[in-house]
């Protein structure tokens, strides 16, 4: 049913993503699909890496570790943006296109007051509305 699964990750918060990563790995095994972990970074130094190149290397390492642990085929796709604060959603959408993914598995928080007021939209909610592939939101 699915051939390629995209999993957006926040590299310095992967400890909070255990459920999402497991759901993605289970689906990948069931459908024999490949998982691409997508992470968006700015060009300035971050807690993860000092340059976009090192950031991409970190993501590749993460993808290999995940693949080894879960016994699935994985890849990393790092996207460097001039303004990740504003462009995150757009970068994810482009990554879905460029990898020809047919499923997105991503984590999100439960909708709260700020979502109701449209103050801080969740990235998952945005992707559900704008991506034309299936989106599995893990809470």
């Amino acid at each position: 049913m699915f051939n390629r699964i995209v999993v957006p990750v926040v590299l310095n918060h992967t400890d909070r993503m255990a459920r999402t990563l497991k759901a993605a790995a289970d689906l990948a095994r069931q459908y024999d699909a490949q998982v691409t972990y997508v992470a968006v970074s700015g060009k300035v130094p971050t807690a993860v890496a000092q340059t976009p190149e090192k950031f991409a290397a970190e993501l590749d390492m993460f993808a290999r570790e995940q693949g080894g642990e879960a016994g699935i085929s994985t890849a990393g796709l790092a996207v460097a943006s001039n303004d990740p604060g504003a462009d995150l959603d757009k970068c994810l959408l482009e990554a879905i296109d460029s990898t020809s993914a047919d499923l997105v598995v991503m984590g999100s928080h439960s909708p709260g007051v700020s979502d109701a007021l449209h103050l801080i939209g969740s990235h998952a909610a945005w992707l559900v509305r704008h991506a034309d592939v299936s989106v599995f939101v893990v809470r």
Partner: protein
Amino acid sequence: MDESSSQTDELIAQLEEVFETDYEVGQDNVERYGLDMHNPVFFVSAGLIVLFVLISLLFPDAAKSGLEATKNWIQVAFDWLFLSAGNALLLFCLALILLPVGRIRIGGEGAMPDFSLVSWFAMLFAAGIGIGLMFYGVAEPAAYYTDWYGTPLDIEPFTDQARTAALGATIYHWGLHPWAIYAVVSLALAFFAYNKGLPLTIRSTFYPLLGDRVWGPIGNLIDILAVLATVFGLATSLGIGAQQAAGGLHFLFDVSAGLQTQLVIIAFVTTVALISVVRGIDGGVKLLSNINMSLALLLLLFVIFAGSVSAFMASFGQTLSGYISYILPLSNPVGRADDTFYHGWTIFYWAWWISWSPFVGMFIARVSRGRTVRQFLTAVLLVPTLVTTIWMAAFGGSGLDQIEQNVGQLADGIGDDALVLFQMLENLPLASITSMLGIILVLVFFVTSSDSGSLVIDSITSGGKTDAPVTQRVFWAIMQGLIAAVLIAVGGSAALEALQAGAVSTGLPFTFVLLAMAVSLALGLKHEHELNQAIQA
């Protein structure tokens, strides 16, 4: 052979250790309710902003007299310091262009520029200086020529020499010196972030001098001061600019220049800036900057061709020769006789440029990855100076021509300096269209200052992150508009001018900050140069 290569490895390891810090970007941040803010920079800055606004609203006259007295005292007592610092920073930039460190590439050897040259230049202008070109392109040369508030070097007004000096002095205020100030700050920020891996925030530029202490109270103080200078600089400019733009609208279309019009202008600028920051650098700031530069170019070409090309060529020659022949006497800090001009214009500008340098420098740094130190400095110093020379020759030259030929309102002397541009355009063809274009340019330049300012404040208050939630930059954009509106509506001009004097006064502490930053940058570049040489060997 083995021994020498292991020595080299050891040298490289030793050099790399110098900039190894345990500090992690965002480690002091508070992440709650989906927000991501540096503690204490965000909270102290926000608190102090509210406090200062309240004080200036409750006691506008006392605040104004107090802060203006401070500003005036600073500008008289430290006049030599401002002027010498400007000269030193310019010489420092020229030295870096010539020295071997000029070859260092911002972001490392393999880094590619993130923006095309055209967009890059457009953003350089749109962030800090575009609005001034609109307001002062005609007003400043006209003021110097007619002795509105002193003349450069006390030259006799209304003479041929006064014309050359007026044009030359204007470029002195808008040319190499201000851009050298911006260049040092932006190069330091860009270098320590992109080459040394430190967070993109003002404090990082002091790492070679202060080491890990920059992550503590000293660093917090520097960053908070930068946030306050930027917020109040932008908000008061927006407030005063709204009053001037309302005056312009009144002059052109006879709409009331009262409070309502001013508030509508602030609301308009803030709304567009809000949309721009939400869309981000590529979809907002860059787009608006490019649109605005195209419109400005259109207006420039119109003024050149609607006036007379030969008159423009003559003015251009005078502006350039005036700049070259007066740059040394104008940058001399000792034994000045032209007190009114020297303190009222030059020192005011120097304090102004320096107090804006954290904002403009930070924004330029954000968009300048991938260029070498030499390319960066040459471009940041020369291109804006050349463009400004053309702009001032066209606008200022036309204004001076009208005064000399006794044409139109300008010949009767400068009344309201905000109207001078429109009074000049009035005597050229298609005045209603060009004046409208002028008003639009003024408003959009306010937008491009406000949106880039919000990005800068957002980055500093989130500890150097560029991926903080959009809500935070929205907060800062709204704050600027809100401060401007509340100051105008409740405190009036006195409150606005009080806080503006406060913002300009931060120029004094930042002068010391900038001089130390230059030393720090020199150390950092030297280190990078040694590292590159060791790696090559």
